[in-house]
Symmetry: C2
Subunit: 398 residues, 2 copies
């Protein structure tokens, strides 16, 4: 990638973050009355639902503290992060230490889930705030939430299970979320002891989910990594696997361009790009079947914003780490398709849910799952990666 | 509807049942090795998954026994119904009397759900078999399952709840499924004491879910029928409400064309047709928002087979009961759209999942939710309704 292209892209991501996606949410979504953030917004920013999803409360708090920590110290970002972590601390937790998934505007609990993804987002929110505010208690809470999530990911049946033990299964989400959470805690808390957790996660992904013989990253496998020839077992999530690929590539970079990790991450990206890219309409499918059989999930061929955010990051990092021109081409391909279809030219930010052909299916900007996270995280990281000054990236000045 | 049109339609539904949909499944899906039915089929009938969903085991068993009971006694149908009820009896039940939702080919349990819909399908399977086989024990089991389902529908929190009690909600599915199950048990067991249950269900639908001021049938309301201005509370399911409409119209007919019930059922149909019909592409949307805001569920604008089966029945019965020509026109409209898009001309039966514009999204014919039920039930009932000889239908010979 030549310097002009690097500067062009860095500008797109930086300006997109600071002048488009962030201003859509801030200060609009700050709930001055009840605390936290009102995220469920229609395309023009109007409020669709006063309920608060804890995923988004935690993720936006993480983003704000991370901007303060890594872009520049800004009182506006720090104050909003504090506003977020206060709501989370006050209303995010059940008596058993688990986090709620969904609360009312006032913070009264609606739903807790079996799965501990909320807790992983809680961990990174606390860790980033701990660094931004120099607060040891927040750091302790981050570690506690990470341990809780780890315990649930690695102890089948700890939460009341949805399935019997007739056919034990596990998902890629466990080691993937543990991996990125540990990476974030290591960075924010400055604690290299998380390396052991990171090693274990990557080893589990490599051993149980990555299948070189099938050229595939599985989303759900048997307890020992078996491929299960059922609807669930064959279901592939290219966007999720490609997100996992850049977590691995990011670790490769952190470890001085570890060749084995670069190979693992690039394989994950290559194989799932081949399975996920829609040759007819462009963009990346949501689900595919291992053997190209019909998928049971109704929205299998839709194009989701976050899949494309993660693919932009993965292809960019693969190019920066390997210098291979095909990754630059893949990055351009997914960047161009995404920027041609997802942005809302009138009201800013991105639509989240497109039909296969790229037409908007639902115009909303925020709900329990979509909020200020995947898009601004992509913009922030891609901007940072493209402008690393003393980078160890071997090919960043070619 | 003139006699020629009645005869034409009766032929389409009859032949579709006996020469198209039924032969797709029978004898193909009978599992001679492990019992029950192998339903998860691709468009050409090839097997996609050996797992067995209990909804489909129960529903196909009900259909087979009902064909034997109401079309003509056929040893083939009776034997297959017996084959089904034996698998259900042997592998369908947990120790607590609840039914499994999903089992392996051999019948080992994979998953039980909080919700008791499986048990309502179990009840009608047992009731239809009780009649076909003259078996009092099956009749007792049908009553037991109905009572169990009723208890769960009317006792919030009896199964471990998914939500806290911060904002109690209830779904249209409870009274609707109780209503049609009670109607079926009354017919099969010849027991009019189910009338009290039926009255209670219809009263609950009328009181809590049907909103004349909004011209709407709600899918989810507060515990006392409150409209909840949140994503969940605003979510409308036109197909579900229209299915409920014909359950009510069917009851009106059973009670000698009860005028109040005809009015209720026709209102439900009219209002949800107005909200559900897609003026641009034709067909009926899966979900709509009460205030036409964006819907959170990704597949909101897809066209599902069962929605159209139920709309064909509802519009037909509304016409037969009222004689109004607009219902004949609506019936023609939904019949024509459905028959232009859902049937698989090459391999028979119907696709289940179309995109908004009518193109096939997933080619499969069977999975945990789709099987030999909505389509053959529509064909059977429409054929029967159109050929009632001593009918009390006021307008069936106009």
């Amino acid at each position: 990638m030549n310097t002009a292209r690097r500067e062009e892209l860095a500008g797109i991501y930086r300006d997109g973050l600071l002048e488009d996606s962030l201003p859509f949410w801030l200060p609009r979504c700050v709930d001055g009355e009840h605390g936290g953030f009102l995220i469920a917004r229609d395309r023009d920013g109007s409020l669709l639902d006063t309920d608060k999803g804890m995923w988004q409360q935690c993720r936006f708090t993480w983003l704000l503290a991370t901007l303060h920590n890594t872009v520049e110290p800004r009182e506006e970002w720090l104050a909003a992060a504090r506003h977020g972590i206060e709501f989370i601390s006050k209303h995010g937790f059940d008596a058993d230490g688990r986090m709620w998934f969904h609360v009312t505007r006032e913070g009264r609990p609606i739903r807790k889930r079996r799965y501990v993804f909320t807790e992983t987002f809680g961990a990174i929110a606390h860790a980033a705030c701990a660094k931004a505010m120099g607060d040891g208690e927040l750091a302790d809470k981050a570690r506690e939430l990470f341990s809780l999530a780890q315990r649930h990911f690695t102890t089948p049946g700890l939460a009341k299970p949805k399935y019997t033990d007739t056919r034990p299964m596990k998902g890629m989400g466990g080691p993937m979320m543990s991996l990125v959470t540990a990476q974030e805690l290591r960075a924010c808390l400055g604690d290299d002891s998380f390396n052991a957790d990171i090693d274990a996660c990557i080893e589990e992904i490599r051993r149980d989910f990555v299948k070189p013989d099938l050229e595939c990253v599985m989303e759900t496998v048997g307890a020992n990594g078996e491929v299960l020839d059922h609807f669930d077992g064959r279901l592939l999530s290219p966007g999720h696997a490609i997100e996992g690929a850049w977590f691995v590539l990011n670790e490769a970079w952190h470890r001085g361009n570890d060749a084995a990790l670069i190979e693992l991450g690039c394989n994950m990206l290559d194989w799932m790009w081949a399975r996920g890219w829609d040759e007819e309409h462009g963009g990346i499918f949501y689900f595919r079947d291992l053997h190209s059989k019909p998928v049971q999930e109704y929205w299998h061929d839709m194009k989701f914003w976050w899949v494309h955010n993660e693919a932009i990051l993965a292809t960019l990092l693969a190019h920066l780490l390997t210098g291979e021109s095909r990754y630059e081409a893949m990055h351009r391909q997914v960047h161009d398709w995404a920027y041609a279809h997802f942005p809302d030219a009138e009201h800013g930010e991105w639509y989240g849910y497109l039909h296969r052909d790229g037409h908007v299916s639902a115009s909303l900007k925020g709900n329990l799952w979509k909020g200020p996270f995947h898009l601004p995280r992509m913009q922030l990281l891609a901007w940072q990666w493209l402008t690393e000054e003393d980078s160890e990236l071997p090919f960043n000045n070619d």
